[in-house]
Symmetry: D2
Subunit: 308 residues, 4 copies
Amino acid sequence: MSLPAEFHEIAKRVNNWGRWGAADEIGTLNLITDEVVREAAATLRTGRRVPLAVPLHQDGIQTGMIPGRVNPLHTMVAVNMEVFGPGTVATSDDAVTMGLQAGTHWDGLGHVSHSGRIYNGRPADSITAHTRAAFSGIEKARHIVSRGVLLDVARAHGADRLPEGRPVTPEDLDAAEELAGVKVRSGDIVLIRTGQIQRCLAGEKEAYAFPSPGLSVRTPEWFHARDVAAVANDTLTFEIFPPEIEDLWLPVHALDLVEMGMMQGQNWNLEELAAVCADEGRWAFLLSATPEPFTGGTGSPVAPVAIL
Amino acid sequence: MSLPAEFHEIAKRVNNWGRWGAADEIGTLNLITDEVVREAAATLRTGRRVPLAVPLHQDGIQTGMIPGRVNPLHTMVAVNMEVFGPGTVATSDDAVTMGLQAGTHWDGLGHVSHSGRIYNGRPADSITAHTRAAFSGIEKARHIVSRGVLLDVARAHGADRLPEGRPVTPEDLDAAEELAGVKVRSGDIVLIRTGQIQRCLAGEKEAYAFPSPGLSVRTPEWFHARDVAAVANDTLTFEIFPPEIEDLWLPVHALDLVEMGMMQGQNWNLEELAAVCADEGRWAFLLSATPEPFTGGTGSPVAPVAIL
Amino acid sequence: MSLPAEFHEIAKRVNNWGRWGAADEIGTLNLITDEVVREAAATLRTGRRVPLAVPLHQDGIQTGMIPGRVNPLHTMVAVNMEVFGPGTVATSDDAVTMGLQAGTHWDGLGHVSHSGRIYNGRPADSITAHTRAAFSGIEKARHIVSRGVLLDVARAHGADRLPEGRPVTPEDLDAAEELAGVKVRSGDIVLIRTGQIQRCLAGEKEAYAFPSPGLSVRTPEWFHARDVAAVANDTLTFEIFPPEIEDLWLPVHALDLVEMGMMQGQNWNLEELAAVCADEGRWAFLLSATPEPFTGGTGSPVAPVAIL
Amino acid sequence: MSLPAEFHEIAKRVNNWGRWGAADEIGTLNLITDEVVREAAATLRTGRRVPLAVPLHQDGIQTGMIPGRVNPLHTMVAVNMEVFGPGTVATSDDAVTMGLQAGTHWDGLGHVSHSGRIYNGRPADSITAHTRAAFSGIEKARHIVSRGVLLDVARAHGADRLPEGRPVTPEDLDAAEELAGVKVRSGDIVLIRTGQIQRCLAGEKEAYAFPSPGLSVRTPEWFHARDVAAVANDTLTFEIFPPEIEDLWLPVHALDLVEMGMMQGQNWNLEELAAVCADEGRWAFLLSATPEPFTGGTGSPVAPVAIL
C-alpha cells in the first residue's frame, strides 16, 4: 500500500521543508517572533487565567486502544518520611509512569513519519529506541507562548458539541473565525473546539475515542495559508476518525507534522475557556503552553493556560 | 526530638492558616489576582522568551541520594509503527517513569509536614499511598502565571556563583532587589539565583547536590512581609544545606510550605535568564509556570518560561 | 465497622503467631523441611515440566478494578544498538512497569492486615511507602520448592469449571483429594483448580474477575489441620468473591496471611497441569515457585513449574 | 567495521541454526529432555535449597553505565488500604519499574544480534519497540529445570575470587570439572563461579562492573562440545570485559546467543552455593530457574534455586 496521489498533492502545497534552513528542527514555531509575542500580550484585558489540561491520574483518558499509551500510574515513594529522625520535618515524594501522549499533550514533530521521512526530510529511522527522536525532539521547542485564538466550531454551529464523525472543514474554521471576530494570523496558535471532550469528562471514554469529530484533511491548507504556528483541539485523535478518505489513515498528522512541521495538541479541555471567551466576548488571548523538555521526546504532556 | 522553640517562633509570625478560609488548599497562590496578572503582562517589552527547565533524560540531576526520586527513564513504546498496514502513515510514541521532584519542579503544599500537619492545619496522614495528597494536591494550583522577579544574588555579590554552604539572607535579597531596581510586591513569584546549577550543568552532580548555598531560615519572614506568591531557585534543596542551625533540617521547607502555604521551585536553570535580564537591564517579567495537574501530587515537573 | 465474632473464632483456631518464634517472618514456609523436599523429589516419574504462569504483557489480566495494579508496560530501551560502533555486536534491552500482583503471583505475608496487625503480631504500620514491608517482605521466602498437590475441584465435580459464585469448601477439597488418591500433608503446596482462569484465557477479563468461584472462609481450618505450606489457585481474588458472609470482605486473606502466615498464589494457570495430571493419573509432583526477591515486597510475580 | 575472521571461524563451528528445525525458537533448551530432568532429580540427596538471586531494590547492581537498564523502583500503590470501609481487612499492593536485565537475569536469545541476524537466522529487525522480540522471546523458554553443575573456577585456582581482567578459559573449566568430580553432559546448566560478585555484595558496584573476569571467547566451543543447555555466572557482563581481542566486543554473547542459541545468566550470586557444595562435597544438583514470561522479552529477572 502507499499513500494516494491526493495526499501527495496536498503535501506539495503545504510543505515547509527547507523553509527555515536544512538544520531547522522546530518548523512553524519559527513563526512565533518576539513581535508576535508582544502583540499577543497586548490582547490581555482582564487577567483571567484558564487552564486547559485534564487531570493526570490512573483513571485517565486512555482505554488501552493505543498500545503503550498508558494512563499515569502515580505512586508515592515516601509519605511523611522523617528523613532526619523522629519529630523532624517530614517529606512526601511521588513518582509516575505514563505515556507522554496519554493526557493533554503536544505531538512533537517526530511523532509521525511517512514514506520514511519526518519533518524537514530527515530519515524516519533517526528515531530509535535508545536515542529516541534525534531530530525535532520535543525539547527543541524550548518555549511555546503566543497569541491563542479559540475557534469554537461547536458554538458556530449552534451546538454544544459536534456530532460524532463530523469533519471540521475550512468553512467551519471560517465560520468560527467570523463568530470570534478575529482573523487568524502568522504565529497564532489555534485552538479548535468540537465539544467532544465532554464525552470524556462524563466518563464515556470509549465514546470519546471513537468515532469522533475532528479535523478534515482539507484543514492543513487553511493553517498553511495563515501561517499558523500550532493547532490543538479537544479530541483524542485530532483529526476526523475514522478518516474521510477510505484507507487514508492519519493524513492530517502526516501533513501537519511531517510536511508543515507544525505541532498538534490533543485532549485539550476547551470547555471552561469557551465559557470565559463567550462571557468576555473575545476569542483571542495570550497562550502559554510549553512542553516538558523530554530529550528526544516525540510528544509531551503540557499544562496550557490561556490568559485573558 | 522535636523542633526547637526558635522554629516555632518564626512559624507563628509567618503562619497563614485560615487566612483564605478553612477550606483553602492553595495558600499564597491566592495572592495572584487578575490585577497582578494584568500588571505582570504590562512589564512585557521585547517579547523574548527564556525557558527555565533543565532537560529531562536518564542522565539527569538525581544521584540516588534521595530514595525514589529517579531520573526520567524515557522509552519508546512504538517507533515508526505502521498501525494501519505497510506503507501507511507511521507513528512513534513514548512513555516515561520519573520522580515528580526529579528535575525542574514545584514542591506542592503536601510535600512537607511537621508536627503531624500540612498547610492550613490539615492532618499529615491525609496523604496516603493510594489517595496521595487529598488536600493541597498540586492539581489544585490550576495555573501559575504572575509577575516574576529575578533576584540575582550571585551577581549582587559580584560573583558568578555563591560559594558552597553560603546562606542567602534577607540582606542578600535586599541587595539583589536594589540591583534589579524593582520592589518585590504582593503576588510576585521570586526567582533567586545562586549560580549553583552551573555545577550540575558541568556534570558535577554530587557537588551540585551537597554542600550547596541556599535560602536562610530567615528568608520566610522576608517573603511573608512582601506577600510573595511563590519562590524558586537554582539549587537541589532550595534551602542552605546542610542547615544553619544544627539538627534543624529543612526548616525553610516547613515554614514556606506548611506555615505560609507557599510553593517552592527547585532545580530551575536561571543562567540564561540572568544573562538576558542583564542585557535588557530589567529583572521583572511575565512568568508562566503551571505544574502538570497530577491529582494529589506533592510536586510536579514544570517547564517555566520568562517572557520579557 | 469491625470484623464479626465468627471471624475472630476461626482466627483463634488457625493462628500461628509465635509458633516459629517471635522473630519469624515466613510462617508456614517453615514447614518445608529438607525431608519434605526429598520426598517431593521422590514423586518425580516422567520428568515432564508444566509452567503455571500466564504471559506478562500489556493486555494482561487486570481491568483497572484494583487501583495501581497495572498490567505490564513492557518497553524496549534499546533495539539492536551497536554500542561499540557500526558493524559490531548489537544488543537489545527491555524495561517494565507492572503491579507486583498483576499477573501470576504470590501474596506475601505483608499483603494484608487486619485490626492493625500483620502476621506474627507485627504492627501493620511497619509497612510504609518508603520502607515497604519491613517485616515478612516477599524476599524473606528465599526459595519455595516443595511437593505440590493439585486438587482439581472442577474435575471432582465433573465440570470443566465451577460456576461463578461457587465457594470451594472443605468437602470439595476432600473430594478432590480422594480423586487424586493422595493425602495432603505437612509442607505441601496445594494448588486448587476451579477452571475460572478459562474466562481470562478466552479474553473475558471482566467475567474472570467478578463474580468468581473461590475459597470458602471455612478452608483455612482445612489447610491448618494439614499444615499446608502455601496455597494457590486459578482465580483473581483467591477466595469466593463477593464473599459468603455479608460485609465480611477478604476473610480468607486475613486468615491465611495474617493469622496462619501462609502465602497465597493467584492467577495461576492450572489448565495444562490438570490435563497432564489426568494423563499421568497422579496429582502430586515437585513444585518450584520461588518469588522474585523484591525487598519489602508484599507480593511478587512468579513463574511456577510443576515437575512430574 | 565488521567482525574479524577469527570470530566467524568459531561461529561456524558452534552454529546450531536449523539443528532443531527452521521454526525453533529456544535453541539449546531443546537439550533438556524429560530424561535429563529425571536424572537431575536423581542427584538430590539432602533436600537443601540455595537461592541464587540478588535482592531487587533501588540500590541494586546497576550504576548507570548501561543506558535504560535501571535498578528497580519499587513503590507501594496502597498501604493498609481499607478497601471496604473502616475496620475491614486492609490490603497493601506494590508496583515496580525495572530493567529486565538489571538484577539476576537470563539473557533471552533476542538480546543480541550480529550481522543483522539473531538465533536461527531470523532477521534482527524482527525486534521492534512495539512487538519486542517476535521470535525467541523469553516467554518461549516456558520452563528451565535441569541438572545444574557448579564449576567453581575461583576455588579451582585456590582463590576466593579471580583477579580482575582474568579470562575464564576452557582449561579453567576442565580444572573446575575435575575439582567437582563431575562431567558436564548434554542438557546441563553450567554455573561458573569467579567470585566477582563479592565486589557487588561489598557495595563496590563500579569495581564489580569493570574491569571484570569473565568467559573467554574460547569457551563457547567447550559448551558446544558438551551440548550444554545454558550457562550462568556471577559477573555483570558474563564474558571477560574489556575483551581479550581488541575491538571484538561481546563475542561470547554473539556466539552463545546468536550462533548456538544458548541462553546466558548474569549477576547470579553463587557464593552461598559454593559453600554448600564444598560442604556437601558435590557440585551437581537440581536447578530450577524459569524466567518470568514477558512476551517478546529479550531477557527476564529470574530467582534460581539449586536443590541439593
